[in-house]
Structure formats: structure tokens, C-alpha cells
Symmetry: C2
Subunit: 250 residues, 2 copies
């Protein structure tokens, strides 16, 4: 398997950094190939704006239309192209990040906004289980300051599955990934110290890494299931991909 690790933490010597090291070691020893996108070390540009379309944005700027045009003509910026190439290469993607304000750090959100361009990840007429990332797997690996109890079904923070739904369903499943159940590390501030519970954590993560190919994805219902009466697709956006392929993906 080819595995892409995407790390979003400002401190390489953190629990998040350690989990990436564990994943790299474990996956390599299992015979997989690993690439790492360490967003902070790459000084990743987190905001999508006019500068993302150096060969001409729409005026006024419509991000979807501009990114569709730039993608089709090979004129996205080099940093975005490099990440798209890694995604094409990958069979599985693991996102490693701390839960900040109940979602992903801004730098990772900005990676999604820029790399998941129109034509590459959306706007092709395929979505929710049938997007262009179909055949790939993805997993969130998330460190959380609070306790499992407070993120349980009736915990004060709300159920963690619901908090992560915009990522697991709205981002990953939408674009075609089979989303695996998230790997969750609670009370994470204590584990930074590598004290009590740390070796159990390592064992638990290694087990998940060893079963990446066989773990059943979250059973989200696909757009093709017939369970939904879709309306959004009936809207005609002001922009359209010009390229036509049988699959819709280019």
C-alpha cells in the first residue's frame, strides 16, 4: 500500500509528531510505502485566495470556477499540484491532528480548501461514496484534550462522531474515500509526557495501522443508495468543467 500521512501540528516534538513517527515505522515494517506532508514544516499556505490562480482568476473571484479552470489547464500552484500528486499516489491517507475548537486546525482546513480543487475532488457530478477518490481509504487520527466521557453520546462536548462528521462524511466520504473509524486519543495532554497509558496507546495504534486494509469503513449511505432524494444536483452552477470523461474524473 501507498500511505500518505498528513500532519497538522506546530510542534514536531509533540504527541502528534510521535504518532506520525509510530505510523511511519509500523507501516514501513509492514512493507508499505509512506509519504509525509508535514504542513507546518512545509509552511503550508492556509488560505485560498486570488494568488492561488496566478494565471487568471475569475473577476469577481469565484473560488470554485477559478479552481476548476486552473485545474483543467494545469495552472494550479506548484504546492497544490504536489499534494494532488501525493493523493493520486496514495491508497490510504491518514490525517494526524489535534482537535482544536472541536475541528481540524486551520492549516489542515486550508490544505483541504486548496488541494481539493474543483475537478479534482468535487464539481464532477460524483459525490458521497462515488467521488473521484473512490477506491482509496482515509482515517482521522485525532488527539483530544478532554475525556472520552465528555465526548460520548450525552457528554457536554457532544458526540465525537458528530463533531468530526464534516470531515469524515462531508469531506472524505463526499470525495469518494472509504472513511475508516477515527483513531482517537483522549486526555491527550497527559500523554505528551509519555507517562501512564502511553505504551497501551502505542499498542492500540499499531493494531489499527496493521488492519488499515481490512477495517470496515464507517457505513455512510451513498448518493447512489437511493436513500436520499437529492436536490442540490439540480442546481446549475455558474461554472462548469469543460473536460468531459466517461467517469467525470480527470
Amino acid at each position: 500500500m501507498n500511505v500518505l500521512l498528513v500532519l497538522a501540528h506546530p510542534e514536531r516534538h509533540s504527541l502528534n509528531g510521535t504518532l506520525v513517527d509510530i505510523a511511519t515505522r509500523e507501516l514501513t515494517s509492514l512493507g508499505h510505502d509512506v509519504q509525509l506532508s508535514d504542513l507546518y514544516r512545509m509552511d503550508w499556505k492556509a488560505t485560498v485566495d486570488q494568488a492561488d490562480f496566478p494565471h487568471g482568476a475569475t473577476d469577481p473571484l469565484n473560488v470554485a470556477a477559478a479552481s476548476a479552470r486552473a485545474y483543467e489547464t494545469g495552472q494550479l500552484t506548484d504546492d497544490v499540484k504536489a499534494e494532488q500528486e501525493k493523493l493520486r499516489w496514495a491508497d490510504t491517507v491518514i490525517f494526524q491532528f489535534p482537535l482544536w475548537w472541536f475541528s481540524a486546525p486551520a492549516i489542515l482546513k486550508g490544505w483541504i480548501e486548496r488541494v481539493f480543487s474543483a475537478g479534482f475532488a468535487y464539481g464532477t457530478g460524483r459525490s458521497y461514496g462515488d467521488g473521484c477518490m473512490k477506491g482509496k481509504r482515509a482515517m482521522l487520527s485525532v488527539t483530544i484534550g478532554g475525556t472520552e466521557h465528555d465526548y460520548s453520546a450525552r457528554g457536554i462536548c457532544g458526540p465525537i462522531e458528530d463533531l468530526l462528521f464534516p470531515l469524515t462524511h462531508g469531506t472524505l466520504f463526499y470525495t469518494g474515500f472509504a472513511t475508516l473509524p477515527s483513531f482517537l486519543v483522549y486526555s491527550a495532554d497527559r500523554l505528551e509526557e509519555r507517562g501512564e497509558g502511553f505504551s497501551e496507546l502505542v499498542d492500540r495504534y499499531r493494531e489499527r495501522l496493521a488492519t488499515l486494509e481490512t477495517t470496515a469503513p464507517i457505513p455512510f449511505r451513498s448518493a447512489a443508495s437511493g436513500d436520499y432524494d437529492l436536490r442540490t444536483r439540480e442546481l446549475r452552477p455558474a461554472w462548469r468543467l469543460r473536460t468531459r470523461t466517461a467517469s467525470g474524473c480527470i
Copy 2:
């Protein structure tokens, strides 16, 4: 009332920009004072990192600990201090943004990560209805490409209230704001054209703006309600605010 508008859209001549203009005009005519943080025009730095703590981060960097120390000693960066000053001034905050990948744009997420520093917005022992923003109101004003149907209770995208919960509950209510029901604009790409439905939209928004002070907040249950058995508070973080005040807020 003092109202802070926070705008997160790369194109000022967009529906989001127009909604901010409508809000400014309407609120001013009602006798309120308005300030605008136009994040893209401010070239807002979206990622929290070592550079946020020029007078010394912790080593290794622990964002919560470093931001607590910098906040207490008045050594946060000037851009962050200016936004905190606006929040102190504001009675009500309106966040205007497009729903991108089922959450806020990265630039707004990064505004929250940097401005809502430890000591200012969390880490004081007060949260969920009792945070330091208590007494202030907040509202999300969100443009959404898809249809209301697809964001309804059983729509394919998931209920919009659930998708926005990390912001309405986990960010705003957590820090003490009374969060008003979100103002939602569906099928937004069509409205960019200011065609059909646009004047109804303006009327609907003006009505919400006129009733900001009287609209009932979302009835989230507070930490003090006794409805929750809290565990996260029992964790002792590696860092602590040194300042002690009666309220916990400084």
C-alpha cells in the same frame, strides 16, 4: 449596541460582502455602532505557530501554555490584541462566511485559534454558558451552495445545525456567548447574481438584524445546569494561568 462583523470571504464583491454591507447599513440606521474585521483584506495570518509568541514560546511548543503566558503578560502579537479589543468592545458578533467543506473557511478558523487565546477565551475554569464572553451574543450568517432540503434532518449533507455545532456550541457557547440561531442562505450561488429571491433574502436578513437583541438564543444546556457529569475539568493540564481573579476572567 456595539456590533462586530467578522467577514471571511476572498472576494469583497460577493454575496458575503453584500451581506456585510447590508448589516452595516441596517445596524447603523438602527443606532448601533459597527466595526468590521474583513479577514482577507487584513491579510489575516491563519495559522497559530511559534511566531505568535515572539517573547518566548514554551519548548517544546504547547500552544495553550504559550498563549496563556503571552496573554497574561500582554505579549500576544498586535494583530491578535487588536481583535481581542474589538471583542471586548462588542455586545454582539456576527460571523459572515461561506460554508466550505461543511465548516468555516480556514482563515476564520485561524482567527478563532489565534484570538481565542488561553486566559481570554478558555482555560479559566469557566465554560459552556459561563465563559468569559458571557453577556455577549453571537450569530453565524452562512451562505451555502446546496439546497435547504439536502441540509435538512435526513438530507444527504446532514442537518445544518449539526454541521455548525462545533462553532455554535463548541466555540461560541463554550466561551460564554449566547448563540443565536444561524442566518442561513441556501442555493447561494444563484443569489450571487442578485436575481430571483434576492430582495426576499434582504428582507429576511434585515428582520434578523432588527431583532438581534430580542431573538432567543439556541437553548444549549450550560455546564452549570447539572445536566452533565463533567470529567474533563478533573484533568490537570500541564499549564495554568497564574493570574487569579474572582471571575476567573482577566
